[in-house]
Symmetry: C2
Subunit: 204 residues, 2 copies
């Protein structure tokens, strides 16, 4: 069999969730925007059932806020104190990940990460900042997943989402690629201390 790149297969709900997350992160749906189930169902050509599932999921992720019988709306920015706490927690998780991964990354893993960095660079040059944000997240997610599997991704994800919600517009300079490259290089060199420093510097 040809060693074709495994095409990611996503469930319907995951695709909808992905789309809505993009809309929220890009600022297309600012905080307080109300989500109408019927409307969304028509937009995606589905019934309300799957939409409701997605809304529940995004609510647990912290992007939306729902009240009984009153629907869901895009969550607003966090209290600065809570924001600081979230940054601290996310850092703890990512420091754990790079520590855990130190020396256990395969050549394939490194190649994958290089690919992600390449597409990050590409998106930056196209000035597609929504895409930049998504790729940025996927770089971190790759590390988290390798270190702790789906379980760890699930507890990590809400922090990223809330942080993204707070910095509406990503400060997308070329630093972005450099910061991530620094992390990758430290991991390749199996230099745990430098990797942690690089992660800390990237998460802010």
């Amino acid at each position: 069999m040809a060693a074709t790149k495994p095409t990611k297969i996503l469930s319907v709900k995951d695709q909808i969730a992905e789309q809505l997350r993009s809309d929220i992160i890009s600022g297309e749906m600012p905080p307080q925007t109300k989500l109408n189930e019927k409307e969304l169902a028509e937009r995606f050509g589905l019934s309300r059932g799957p939409i409701r599932d997605v809304i529940l999921q995004l609510t647990k992720e912290g992007l939306l806020i729902s009240r009984n019988n009153c629907g869901a709306s895009v969550n607003s920015v966090l209290d600065p104190k809570l924001q600081k706490l979230m940054i601290k927690l996310r850092r703890s998780i990512e420091e754990y990940a790079v520590t855990e991964l130190n020396g256990s990354l395969t050549d394939q893993n490194i190649a994958d990460l290089e690919d992600i960095l390449a597409s990050l660079q590409d998106a930056l040059e196209r000035e597609d900042y929504t895409e930049v944000t998504k790729i940025d997240i996927s770089f971190h997610q790759y590390l988290i997943y390798q270190a702790g599997g789906e379980e760890l991704v699930n507890i990590w994800y809400p922090y990223v989402m809330r942080m993204r919600l707070n910095y509406k517009r990503i400060t997308s300079s070329s630093e972005c690629v450099n910061e991530h490259r620094a992390i990758l290089e430290a991991l390749k060199a199996q230099d745990s201390a430098t990797a942690i420093k690089a992660i800390k510097h990237n998460i802010k």
Copy 2:
């Protein structure tokens, strides 16, 4: 108008979720147990819709694990390394909470907490350990909610659930009440350092 104690009103889904959490924490549904939607729907006298919502919610909380088209099952215990990480993260959150709450608890808050401790004592004497666990959680939840609202509770909750999943049987000695009383006393005395120490001692 009479100042009756406000009776907590829970949505149907929240009640189902509460029941399932109890079943899982009590060990009645050990890890790997498969959840059958139709079965559960009949048990609670509902259709599958709300049940599906609850399953999704508990999955996000980490109690269940779901795969596409294959249903959900009770999640298994964590890798010890991840468990240690979760304890660290939960401690960070609770330390934040007691620090934040220092000096800002109202008399009503303190009375509420005293009430919770009283029912904890009561449940212990009845040797109803599932109830003990639930009240234990509600004590902490009260603090978290006061410090950071629903938002903070939502990110805190998964840690508690996963920790409960790991210690199948609560080590329910009378220490349990004492540890919580120590936290409350430190808060009453507005002694932040002692409160943090007490929290740290309680979360393990």
